[in-house]
Symmetry: C2
Subunit: 345 residues, 2 copies
């Protein structure tokens, strides 16, 4: 049975434009909160394939999206490379020993051997695939090397990324060494997700916009291209989605080479501009402002205009960033149904 | 004596391209930290004209910038409208009673009477002007109504601005009422800064990029245009700088009407793109990535390329965001000297 989501990623014609939501397995769902409470620590939930599979499947059943995205966190990668990770309430993720020197970096493991440690992720994928309806797709994912590196260097989330960027300008060699080492893990990590059953993979460059435009290719984009080439050589049939958040300014500069199928458009980028600059090169995913979900009227205004703009296809509906925890489930369902209805061909 | 900075703002030819730095009166200067320690609380420093004037003048004397910017904080405006303001260590500014309803808003004062309460700001300006060399300019400033409103609504800094944006989509009337009331204060606040001696004023829309492109005009830009019209009617000779951070994506959309003289370009926007889209309409200010200041080499790379790109003038050197507290003073001096040297005509 063909999967509408996979077909849409590959630019094939579909009966309607498929839809999913970033962070769709999350706190706005009471069912998620129940499982989360049982798991205790957030990382416990990532490490428990049965529970992770359960929350992965919830939005498909409850909200009706066309694709599930495996429940996990991008930081399991540096964690398995040897960095101690804690989720501190109110502060978010914290690495107690951030990477500030070549010696720090040398202590970390890398390559296929490290990717092999992430068995709980591959196990989650296998369980989900057993239970997922044939016409629904499963998305695997990883953080972009740059985004992972910022956490590894800063030790936690940052407003200014000034430690990472001090390194970028004062010691670019060390930063490249970190990026290269992370890239080697992410390649095998995504490959093994595909081998476990992921139908599509997405690379999240959440902190893309922390790099000034003239340095973005050197410190982020080219590493993602390397990952895509590695995967496409082995699995040309598996679509790759690239989501570099906040790089509207780069579109003009033509940073569009690379073996990706889908370009995720954040809500800060007008879809009309993305279509004009990238629409021929990639299928576009996105990009409703997530806070519009608080209001059905605001949701309708946006979905209608996206449906009209993208009526010729090469589009996947999504939010332009993650769904917020206090959005009513009813509004999420309304969004998903409306996308399908207004894009029916 | 003519002021090179004012001339440059008005697009006149100048012997070199003038330079200043956002947050130039700040923690990277040991002399600032001394005064700050004497003042105790951050707000005390804003409220004390003698001390505020002293730190305003420091970067002119120490680093050699062409313009001083009065030391203050954008949040003194909502503070004087009646909102209790505290600077909490590690959290930043906090309003204990955020505005969530029309009743909350009705309790606040507004208009010229509220602007009259900010005497300590006008007093600071007068003291600075007495001491500032004739060829140097003094910049006054205010926060944009949208940026001020987000603090007033959220009660503190926010990553997602979801309370403000829930209001934008669910109760736009209330948000407009807040914005209109703030606008009425900012108009008179900037007018009185000019009357006290400010040579130029800058409006900071620091959270411009929190609004999706299709809503930016309605909820932010048009209010700033209203302020500019009000000021230009009374003081056409005083240049107005607009700094809407992170709106690279909008440039394409042509949001360029309004009575502003200078457009501040953040570091996320390539200057070449800004020049192409806005260079004929505005003098451009900016836009070196602030973390480049950690490295003289990285500073030189950027200043050289900006000097070359903007060699025909209509430019003011600056950072694309505020200087960071741990930048060496020596590097700041290097930046300022280099800008002057490489732009000599």
């Amino acid at each position: 049975m063909s999967k509408i989501f996979v077909d849409a990623c590959l630019g094939k014609e579909t009966p309607y434009t498929p839809v999913w939501m970033m962070r769709q397995a999350g706190r706005y769902l009471p069912e998620y909160k129940e499982v989360r409470a049982k798991a205790g620590d957030f990382l416990n939930l990532c490490h428990n394939p049965e529970m992770a599979a359960e929350v992965t499947l919830q939005p498909v059943d409850i909200v009706g999206v066309d694709a599930a995205i495996m429940f996990s966190d991008i930081l399991v990668v540096p964690n398995e490379m040897g960095m101690e990770l804690k989720f501190v309430k109110g502060e978010g993720p914290v690495f107690s020993n951030p990477i500030r020197s070549q010696e720090d970096l040398d202590k970390l493991s890398a390559g296929e051997a490290t990717a092999n440690k992430l068995t709980y992720v591959y196990e989650t994928i296998k369980i989900v695939k057993e239970k997922l309806a044939d016409d629904k797709a499963l998305i695997g994912f990883a953080g972009a090397p740059w985004t992972l590196a910022t956490y590894m260097i800063e030790g936690q989330g940052s407003k200014t990324y000034n430690i990472s960027k001090k390194m970028m300008y004062s010691n670019p060699e060390l930063l490249h060494n970190i990026l290269a080492k992370v890239t080697e893990v992410v390649k095998y990590y995504l490959l093994k997700q595909i081998e476990a059953g992921a139908d599509v993979v997405q690379i999240f460059d959440s902190w893309a916009s922390a790099i000034e435009p003239s340095k973005y290719d050197e410190f982020s984009w080219k590493y993602m291209v390397e990952i895509a080439d590695f995967l496409k050589e082995r699995h040309p049939e598996v679509p790759i989605i690239m989501f570099p958040k906040g790089v509207a300014a780069f579109i003009e500069r033509g940073l569009v080479y690379g073996n990706f199928d889908v370009f995720g458009v954040d809500w800060g980028t007008p879809m009309a501009l993305a279509k004009e600059k990238l629409g021929n090169r990639y299928v576009l995913q996105g990009n409703m402002e997530p806070t519009r979900l608080y209001s059905k009227e605001a949701t309708k205004e946006c979905v209608s205009s996206l449906a009209e703009l993208m009526k010729d296809g090469r589009h996947i509906f999504n939010l332009g960033h993650g769904i917020l925890p206090d959005v009513p489930v009813e509004n999420a369902k309304y969004f998903v149904n409306l996308c399908k209805e207004l894009s029916k061909r």
